[in-house]
């Protein structure tokens, strides 16, 4: 009887040992799966935040082209783009306001047709952007309104793109 009970206890310990090994294996797989899932979630979140920031920028009254306060959809004013760039580069208070709004990001407005022009309106990228491989740019097609001048009495609209890199 004594030996039988000892054998039974040993059996139970063995079963538990195998059970815990299987459990540990399952945990290792689960943690690996969960890590890859979190990485994917992080990329998705960064994509969403980039999109939101791009939407915010395209709707900024400081950039939006308007006729008596009525603006077009995704239509930016070329003079406002330059003015915002000048203000952010020269006015520290204004720069702080935009840092709290845009965070660590880079906002580029590109004119792509008929001519090519670039404005890096805001750049607060972290130092080692090469190391952050999960950040992807978000693009929004826009039109840029160039106010009237000697050649165009009513001004003209040109095609462009808004490029936003959001780092967090």
């Amino acid at each position: 009887m004594d030996k039988k009970a000892q054998i039974q206890t040993m059996e139970t310990i063995l079963v538990l040992f195998v059970f815990f090994i299987l459990l540990a294996l399952a945990m290792i797989f689960y943690v690996a799966y969960s890590n890859s899932q979190s990485e994917r979630n992080l990329i998705n979140t960064m994509d969403i935040l980039s999109g939101e920031l791009a939407l915010t920028v395209s709707n900024l009254p400081e950039l939006h082209s308007s006729q008596q306060g009525v603006g077009g959809i995704n239509n930016l004013d070329s003079y406002k783009i330059q003015a915002l760039y000048n203000v952010i580069s020269s006015d520290e208070d204004a720069r702080l306001v935009y840092i709290s709004r845009f965070g660590e990001s880079k906002i580029i407005i590109k004119e792509i047709y008929p001519s090519q022009k670039n404005w890096t309106v805001y750049d607060n990228s972290p130092e080692n952007t090469e190391e952050i491989d999960f950040v992807r740019p978000f693009f929004i097609p826009i039109t840029i309104h160039e106010p009237s001048d000697n050649l165009n009495s009513i001004g003209k609209n040109v095609f462009g793109i808004l490029e936003v890199w959001y780092y967090g």
Binding site: M1, D2, A5, Q6, Q8, T9, T12, L16, T45, I48, E52, L55, T56, S58, N59, P61, E62, H64, S66, Q67, Q68, G69, G71, D77, Y79, K80, Q82, A83, L84, N86, V87, D91, A94, V97, Y98, S100, R101, P147, S148, D149, N150, S153, I154, G155
Partner: protein
Amino acid sequence: MRDNNTTNHMNNLKNNNHAAIQVSLHWLFVMVVGAVILIFFLSIVMQQRRISEENQLFELRNTMNSYIEGGRGLDRGLISVSTFGAEIEYECSLIGVGCSCNLIFNNKISLNLDNNVVFAPSDLGEDNIFLSTSPWRSPYKVTNFVYLINPEERFILVYDSSDSSLKKKVEDIFYNELPDSIDKQLIPSSLREPIEFKDLNFPRRKVIIFGKLPNNVPPQLPEFANNKNTFIVNIPFVLAESDKVNFYSYNELTDRFEPETQSFYVGDSSLIGSFYIDNSQNYDCAMQKAFLNLHTVNKVMRERTKLLSGLSHCSTFYGDSQIELFDEIRKLTKDPSNWAQIDFPKLLNNFDKLKQQNNIIEGQGCPLLY
């Protein structure tokens, strides 16, 4: 022989007892291990449940952020946002010279609203909430004000019936500015007699009184409304572009509504904003942020005017006199935390002058100032 039998019997009994104890110990061991395994799995389930709840709150937080950010681009809109049963609170606190406003979800996760101008009651409930927007212009568009409305709140608009000019303005606000989805009622009153309205079992109510109150004392409300869940907003001169807003809250000790604080509205959007708050500090913070936005946008508009002065055919419209108007607005709004001290008539005068300049430029076919 008899002695041997007795000894054997004793030995058998001893062995049996020993075996029984070992079997019991074996089962005890199995039960302890079983309990440990059960506790282990239960703790995993509990942890997963907590993580899942937190994820849901984060999802809700991000959704609210998207709606509020999106609201900045939508001039006039109203949407209903599901809160999935999460309790949402709105809180503003003074930090240094500035102000910080947060939405707090289930007392666990918070969303900082940065420079978004949001008007909301302290308790947004735990059901759907309405999000509505309205542009704030001065005279160029500065930002969109975002209003978060608790559908469990009732709005009673009372106006001084003796002032005929008030009726049109208040009706315009009632029918065109306040969304139809909320529960609202319009009541003409002498502002001296008690105000009568029915109890529709709303947990919260806001009484907005247009017109000058006799001795600055609000009229008596029905008995069911005399409690902490009722908040009174008084706008003595609603026809003005900018004027005072008085907030009254219920004092349990005196059993009366007593003045909480006095503030100001600038334009209809901020007037409407005062209807949705139930705490004067939250209103003050929202307006601070509005003036911070105005100050920043004004800098960009000034810089744009300077750039436009380079246009040879229109340069006369973007000279020093126009830039001075922007400079004046910049000086008046340089300290947004003290926005209530601004010389509002002077500020509004500058807005009017900018409007006039814009109208003149429009007639000449040159780029507008805004």
